[in-house]
Symmetry: C2
Subunit: 398 residues, 2 copies
């Protein structure tokens, strides 16, 4: 049977995320992965959540196992609101929607806003999961260069000036995926000003904001918004557990009302037990103390990676970003055009990295960049991984 004729136009050009495909191939335990976006698992509160899950299912089995409401449990919405409040990302008039991971919030926000041919301005490079979600609505992605202090605002202004049908700017302003870069306060203010002037929506994706281990917090873009044009996407994936798939949207009830309808026909509601577990965890324990332990761990791991890079990478042949938090850094090899031979050589040496093309607007163009993750592996494996990667780089670059 020939299935080709049945496919919708939107999926014809789609390929799966190379990163998640890589996960599948990484059954080989000898491989050190610097590729994924997994948070550290050393500190997962397994025991605490074990007792919590048990108590919920004993005390309120019907609550945990029966259908829930599409917008999420009221207590879970309060937990999300309390996280958003910490970064001034919620106003009294805002709605909160619990999502099955923030990615669902990003996907369905695009579904609510984007017609075929509409444009979304995104950081270049940016998170493949969001870019691919946007691509399924047949929009045009307009990339704006990321500098050391975030999106280039002149380029953003030009993009807004020179493009019709821009509906939305999508940004990960803090510890950006994949660059690890944080947007300055000045640029955040400028972005709001431009969004107001050109009347576009901003989708602020902030999964890593809590993971700062250096420097001072910068105000969220949502906190600078007076019009109600910023939709804020938060997540419990990097501060509690990604496997639980708990994220949320905060923003105008008008737009979120549309997103809620789309969620209703998507997964009806986010699983109830995991919502209740998150609520109980935040009731019984101080999640900020737990996050603090993670921050400290990420700071240590990042330092190990940076020291290893200094030690094992060819001098002056690789440039890298130095993040103040989050889980990623970004490397560039200015002397070559295409990083693929390095990625392949590294995989031979059993270390996995993600080539930059995955995060590009034009995924077919060669990229001389790659992303490194330091949250997932142990410090020992981080050093060994960078050592092997250094070897791969030396063999290809020399």
């Amino acid at each position: 049977m020939n299935y080709e004729k049945f496919y919708a136009d939107r999926v014809k050009p789609m390929k799966g995320s190379a990163i998640r495909e890589m996960f599948k191939r990484m059954a080989d335990p000898a491989i050190i992965s610097l590729a994924g976006g997994n948070p550290a698992s050393e500190l997962f509160p397994g025991k605490e959540l074990a007792e919590i899950a048990r108590n919920i299912l004993i005390e309120n089995p019907v609550g945990a196992l029966q259908y829930g409401t599409t917008d999420g449990l009221p207590a879970m919405r309060e937990c999300a609101a309390s996280r958003a409040k910490k970064v001034n990302a919620i106003k009294d008039s805002d709605q909160v929607l619990i999502m099955t991971g923030a990615n669902q919030g990003i996907d369905l926000t695009a579904k609510a806003l984007i017609n075929k041919g509409d444009k979304i301005i995104v950081e270049s490079p940016s998170f493949i999961g969001s870019l691919n979600a946007f691509r399924t609505y047949e929009c045009e992605l307009v990339g704006v260069k990321v500098e050391d202090d975030g999106m280039d605002m002149d380029e953003l202004e030009n993009a807004l000036k020179n493009n019709d049908n821009v509906k939305m700017i999508y940004t990960i302003p803090t510890f950006q995926n994949p660059t690890g870069v944080t947007m300055s306060l000045e640029k955040r203010k400028k972005m709001i000003e431009l969004a107001n002037r050109y009347d576009v929506i901003i989708l602020e994706d902030n999964p890593y904001g809590d993971l700062r281990f250096k420097g001072e917090d910068v105000a969220t873009i949502k906190s600078l918004d007076t019009d109600g044009r910023v939709i804020y996407a938060g997540s419990f994936s990097k501060i509690l557990s990604p496997g639980m798939r708990l994220g949320y949207l905060v923003g105008s009830p008008e737009i979120l009302g549309k997103v809620e309808i789309l969620k209703q026909v998507n997964d009806v509601h986010t699983p109830v037990l995991t919502q209740m577990m998150c609520v109980e965890f935040m009731k019984k324990y101080n999640i900020d103390e737990y996050i603090e332990r993670n921050r400290e761990l990420y700071g240590r791991k990042c330092a190990v990676m940076l020291e290893s890079i200094e030690k094992y990478f060819l001098e002056n042949r690789v440039k890298w970003t130095v993040p103040d938090g989050g889980i990623f850094m970004w490397c560039e090899c200015p002397d070559i055009e295409d990083i693929t031979p390095v990625v392949d050589k590294a995989l031979e040496k059993k270390v996995a990295i993600v080539p930059g093309s995955n995060f590009a607007i034009d995924m077919k163009a060669p990229s001389n960049m790659f992303r490194l993750n330091y949250s997932s592996a142990t410090p020992e494996k981080l050093e060994e991984g960078i050592r092997r990667l250094g070897e791969a780089l030396s063999e290809v670059l020399q």
Copy 2:
């Protein structure tokens, strides 16, 4: 701020499910709900799942809390396959995808196949969650009348003959939502024959198939398919827990490969803990024994509802279906055009039912039908609910 201009065309006409909106309003504990689609909660295995969840989180916290794979845990895919095998709905060449509820499978299958303007043939009436999911892809729904033995096959043939761009037939052949009707084997064979002749995909949605309390099982449409054109959607919502949001798709790896990519950008993967809990439940307990107890309960509840209807409804003024399983029956008041006054009167008397317009292709046309659910309320409440509804009917019809 005026948000109207930002919305995508696909969401402009969308309204939330009246049924799920009703849930929100039903905080009043005096209301007897015959409206929802909740399975019985009396038998939920809360204690068993409590121990299972606890053990998983103690023994394998990283497995349960870290990111999983988009297609689902291998052991969970085996559990889904074993359910599909019981009804011959899986071939060796088929792929299995774990979904966050079967609704996600239906939504994303439509997303993979449907371009704007494509047509989907559906039972009329049909499940609002699926119809609304389809509507978000700007397709045209072509309704085919449901008879006591399922879709009218002459009408289906005409629909296929007279419509271009039919990509898919969507059917709930067994204990259909909302009618409770089951399609005969003869009609299932005819549907496959027609789908082969007109070269369209069939999406077979079978969430209630396990809940037969009368008569003999009828072969699934998937089991009659030799071309690989049937996608089978199964669910654990009605046989274990809807709050856990566990469903699955079985079918051609070509189409399911596209759906998997769309799931990757939607919720990345289904929460892991709930998948592991389902796997362990099926390992430790005989789920078919559990289903058997539910079947028996549903048979009893259905009988109570039918007896109460005979007792309390005005003679010869209401027609109803007599289901052999599942959770719904369907009523019609041939003497009136619009059921709304009955629904309103019933709500005054604190009993909730869903008007037929919700399940119609044209939701704005008046409907003289309504859906009744008998799985959720206790037998006592079922009788009392039907008594009050009988009063409402008498007051409006006389």
